[in-house]
Structure formats: structure tokens, C-alpha cells
Amino acid sequence: MSNLNRNIQPDINLVDRISLVKPVFERMDNGIPVYLIDTAQQDLIKIEFMFSGGSWYETKKLIANFTNRMLKEGTPSMSSRDIADRIDYYGAHLETSSDKDMGYVSLYSLNKHLDKTLPVLAEIIQSPVFNQKELDTLKQNRKQHFLVNNEKVRYLAKRKFNELIFGKGHPYGKVFSSEDFDQISRNDLVSFHNQFYTAGNCKVIAAGKIPGNLLSLLNKYFGNFSGNVSQQPILPAIDMINPEDKKAHLVKKNAVQTAIRVGKVLFNKTHPDYVRLKVLNTILGGYFGSRLMSNIREDKGYTYGIGSAIVSLHHSGYFFITSEVGSDVAQDAIREIYHEIDHLRQEKVPQQELDLVKNYILGSFLRSNDGAFAQADNFKSLLEYGLDYTYFDHYIEIVKAINTGEILDLAQQYLDPESLRLLTVGQE
């Protein structure tokens, strides 16, 4: 052991093969597509119903979100309390969530209790009653929750930024206010549910240890679920933004930190440059050793964290940089952000740095597919765009092949500082 040379780093082998469990495609008798990811590990399961029913589709603010949240709050045969009692008693978990594009309802259950828990999932999806008293309580509490969040510079920045890049009139740019909570009515939720939480508008992913009788259980409890594909709303014109609004500042008095967001509208994962941009983004702000972290946190100490991301939406996409920095150094931090962008547009990244980032991305990809639920989430992110696993093969090929010249071209094409919008939230 005495001749161990610690200066020599152990060899590294690249991730060259990623084995994913291929989803098995089935259909319920009523036509609902079901994708089964059977990892045959622990005796448990996650069953997720996904509906094209996010805030994009609502004509009144908060309706998509509240329709989704109210599913758990009572059905003709069960009060919200009954639902909670039954789910908790069997150690299961119901999760409802919605975003800009989709509404999701998931059940996590031990397989041995699936015959008790699955009927609850079926009932809350198909026959929520939208009880008025429950709705009033939820409105009041979500409003309070919103008002607390509104005290956080990061939250304020996140909201305002959507408006700044997409424009107020755009479905992705609209922002709700505290008054919008008061406007929600039971009828809004009932009609949103009728229109969007239908069999024709739904896909199912089940992951974990898939019991042999799962499909027959689904047919039993969802046999009467019907309804057609919902009508797609008309796309608004994308450019509704006042071109003067390149910059915005929101005042938050007495804030000891300033939240910063810089970014622009781009496109979603079906665009040919999307994966390449992911690589560029990783270099800039997508991992701990990124340019932004190395400079603004690890060299200057201006912040606890800074990062960037590209986000895919069904009808668009965007790029953004985000951080919270000491109020006294906000201007310095912004200067350094633009400096890092400029640097990527002027000079090729060193080959070594690009190689590191490629390995990091491939390792992350492996990690993000670890376990049944993680694989289900990744598969979901393809399914929503009508893509399949060949996308991942293509993804890995692109990451392996990209060169420093392409990264430079991408930075010049997509990160023109003139095209970026800057938002700050903090002291005056």
C-alpha cells in the first residue's frame, strides 16, 4: 500500500450503453392507451393518468389547476375525508398536479392493496363532485399560500418572467393574481373537467412491479370511462410582446437579495437543435462546474447558487438563467452573466471542457433512468410529444458527436444578448 500513487487518477470508462426497460403497450377495452414499465423490483406500483388539460387550455385563470386539485375533494360515494382515510389506511398516496400543458393524477400503492386503492383513483378521475364548501376552503388556503409565496423574490421573478418573454396575452405568459382566486366558480371546474378529463384525452403509464391482472383491473374500474378528444384551442400569435420590454425590474422593498432571470423564448424538444442546445446550456449553467457557477459562485462568492435551463413546452419552449444574489452585488453579477454568454459566443470551448460535459450529461441520463418511477417520468416526457425511445438513442448520438465548432455556432445563433430579456426583483 505504501507505493500507492495518489497523483494518478483511476481510469474512467464512458457510459456507452444504457439499458432501459421497454414499455409494453396495451389498450383498455375503451381504447385508453396504457404503457407498462415492469422493473419487477419491490412489490409496488405507480399508475399515472395524464390528461391534456393544463393551463394552456383554460379560458379563465386558475381553472385547470383547481379542477385538478379538487379531484381528491369528494365523489358521490366518498367525501374528501373518506378518500383520504381509505388511501392513507392502505399506505397509498394520491398525487394530483398540473402544469402549463397537462393535468396528472397518480396513485402510488403496494400491489397487495391495489384492489382497494385503484377504485378510489377511478372514482376521483371519473366522478368528482366539486363540493362547494371544499372549494371555498381550498380557494381561501391556496390564496393565502400564494400571498406568502409572493413575498419571495424568486417566486415573483418566476412569474413575472413568463409574462416578460411570452407576453401578457399568451397562454404561457399569463399570470394570475390574488383576485383570480375569488373568481373561480364550481361551474368552471365542472365544465373544464367534462371537457378535458375524458377517456379520449388521456394516456396511462404504470411502472413498478406490474401485476398480471392489471389490465383487467383497469378495465373493471375504468370500463365506463368515456368521452372524446377535447378540442384544441386556437393558437394565439406568439409575438404579442411590446418590443420595448427588454428589461423589467420589480420592486421588493427591504429585500436583502435580488432575484435575477435572463432568457428568451425558444422551442421544444422536437426541434432539431434542442439536444445540441442542452449541451450548450450545460456548459453555461447546467451543472455544478458550469461557467456561471464557477465564476459567480465559486470565484466571486456573489450567490449560493446560479443555473440555467432550457424548458420544453408542448407549443413552445424557453431558455433562462436564474439566481439570487446579494443586493449590493446584483449589477456585478449581471455583468458577469453577460460576460459568460459573450465568452461562449467569442471563443470555442476547450475540447477538455466539452468532453467533461458530454460525460456528465451521459452520466446524468443514466442516473435519471434509475428505477421504475424515474424511467416512467422519462418515458412520459417523450410520450407527451408523440416521441418514442428512438429519441433517446438519437439524444445519446448527438451528445457524443457534437464538436466545439458547433457549440460556438449555437451560442452565436441563439444567445445573442440583444435577443435576451432581463428581469430583476429586489430593492429599488
Binding site: 409496488l44 389506511y89 449560493y304 434509475d370
Partner: protein
Amino acid sequence: MINFEKFELENGLKVIVHHDRSTQIVAVNLLYDVGARDENPDSTGFAHLFEHLMFGGSVHIPKYDTPLERAGGENNAFTNNDITNYYLTIPKQNLELAFWLESDRMLDLAFSEKSLEVQRNVVIEEFKQSYLNQPYGDVWLLLRPMAYKTHPYQWATIGKDISHIEKATMEDVRNFYQRFYNPNNAILTIAGDVETDQIKKLAEKWFGSIPSGNGYSRNIPKEPRQIEARQLSVQRNVPFDALYKAYHMCSRDDKQYHTTDLVSDILSNGDSSRLFNRLVKEKNMFSDIHAYITGDRDEGLFIFSGKLVKGVTMEEAEKAVQEEIQQITTKPVEIDELEKVKNKIESTLEFSEISVLNKAMNLSYSELLGDADLINQEKSLYTAVTREGIMETAKEIFREDNCSTLYYYAN
């Protein structure tokens, strides 16, 4: 059931190996038995600042993260009042790199004056981001010194005061390192598609030659029994009033621990729990309310934390909480209700076994508590909890003179 094997190197490093053939990722967890409770009252926040410095370069490796990222790995760390825990995940073919990285920073650090300077600033920004620039962000900075008069749990991991971090010197940092960052003060767990023989060889090769430290004998003053109700009212720029009640509870290794945990589950775990149903749904007095335990190694706290619905007075809100406390201390819990929280625990344990990283962390922590196998005994310890036990434990904890109450008023 989490299978494992364990062995110890001559220098005192404990190593645990868990086999999981289902994954291409290996998790490596390195727990150091040092936390904020081991700090000097005049230089608090040190264990956490130190965690940041562990990434600033070791004797043969200028930057910890770079080689790991190049190997497709990722890492992070956390510090709490009891422990400092470093963890990483890496594709299994590159596992040896993790041994190289972790052993080098256990052997000796080599960070610069500049690295100390920068990380002091980063931690100060973390302090601002997490405690000062958040609504209700200073609650723990207020509650801890109320509940603890003697024990070092009276300060938060981030430290009592920014000035403590500002004045940290190179010498302080070196002393701290020499005292705590030794193989005989650490537990290493490897979880993934690995063989015990392979891990034995790697551990011996990379960690075997690191000298043992002097050994640290912990001498933390015990918090005296609280015998008077403590109250504090503050006014802050927040939109709603909030109420916090902190009761002293047992330590993690006490035989009442699992019962205490189930008391908090009955009160507050899930949508069917008592507090949510009575106080949020039925009485409409809180927009949210939670009860939970800190679960610290030394005697911890049982916390109630709730935001009031606008228009409800602090007196009404506190009275409503006290009624729930009255219930659980005087009436035996329903059989089904106890069964429910036990089922939830069983399920939570089962779901937590999906991730190798989770398993690695839990094994390290259980070993710290005395035996890695404790993780496999948890279920039966919870199953053994009785209705009488719940009531007695609740009665013992929820004495008003055992409580620190923080009235947090909106301006």
C-alpha cells in the same frame, strides 16, 4: 429488507456494502460524525462552512467536482446538528474514482485562503437566501434559543450569527479538520451492483493508509428539564399570523422514539390526519398546519407549526391546537387510526428502498446509531407501538411547562 455486509479497517473506518443488481449506478455515502452540536458557542456555523470547504481541493486533487463530473458522477452534501454527510452517485464502471476522491479529502485538505474567502461569502448568501430573505425564514433562529438554554441545539446549522462565519480563520478550519475528519470518525457505505471483496480491496487500497485521529470524546451538556412555559411574540413583514409550539421530546435512541414519531403521524401525516381535518377543513382556522419531530440524536423537539386563516385570532388558534393536544393525551387513539399510521410507515419504508442512494444514506445513519441493521428493525419497532403508549407518550411530552411558544404576528 436491506441486505448488507460490513467490515472495519485497522484505522477505524467502518465500511458497509449493499448489493443491488438492478442498477448501473453506484451510490457512495460518507458520513462524518460531526455536526453543529460539536461547535464552540463562539464559532457556530463551522461544521456547515467546513462542508463547503471540503470541495475546495485536497492534497492531490485541486478540484473535487471536475474528475467526478468527467466520470459521469454527481455529488452533494448536507450538514445538520448531528452529522455531516457527503454522497455521490457514479456509473458503476467508474467506482474506483469515488474512492480516490473521498480518500484524498479524508487524508488532507489543500484549499487556499481565497477558497476560504469565497466560501465564507457563499455561506453568507445562503444565510440570506434561506433565513433572511424568506417570509417566516427566521423561525428556527428564534425557536432554538427559546427551547434550548444549555444544549448546542440552541443554534441552527447555519450559525447563530453571520459574524461567526465572517471571522472564521484558516487556523480554525485546520483545527476543526484535524479533530473530526478522521477514518475512525466516519462511516462509508457503498450500494449498487458491487461485490464485497471488490469493495474490501478498494477500501484497503485507498483508505487503509490514512492514519486514525486521536479520537473525539463528545461531552455535550444535557439540556435541563424545562419547567416553565416560554413565550415569545414577534412582528414581521409577512402576510399572515403564524403559531409555533416546540415541546422537548426524547432522543433518537430512546425506546419512546417510535411512539413519538407515530404521535406526530396521527396528528399530521397525510390528508386523513387530525390537524388537517379538524383545523384546516372543519374549523377553517389554519390555512396549513403541521406537527413533526426533529428526530435529533440528543433530545429533540416536537413541533407544531401553522399559518392562521385571516381573521382568526392567535388565542382562538392556540386554543384549537390545545384541544387537539387534549384529545390525544386523554382519549386512546382508535384502533384503525393506529393501524393506518403503521401501514403508512410500512409503505414509506418499502417505497424508500427504490433508490440506492436512499439505502446508502439510511445504512450509514443506522450504523451511526449503533448498528446498520437497525434499518431492518424499524418496521417491527413501529408495529410494537400500542394505543396506551401513544397516550402516555403524548401526555409526557405535551405539558405546557415543556413548551416554547412563538407568536409570529403579521405587521
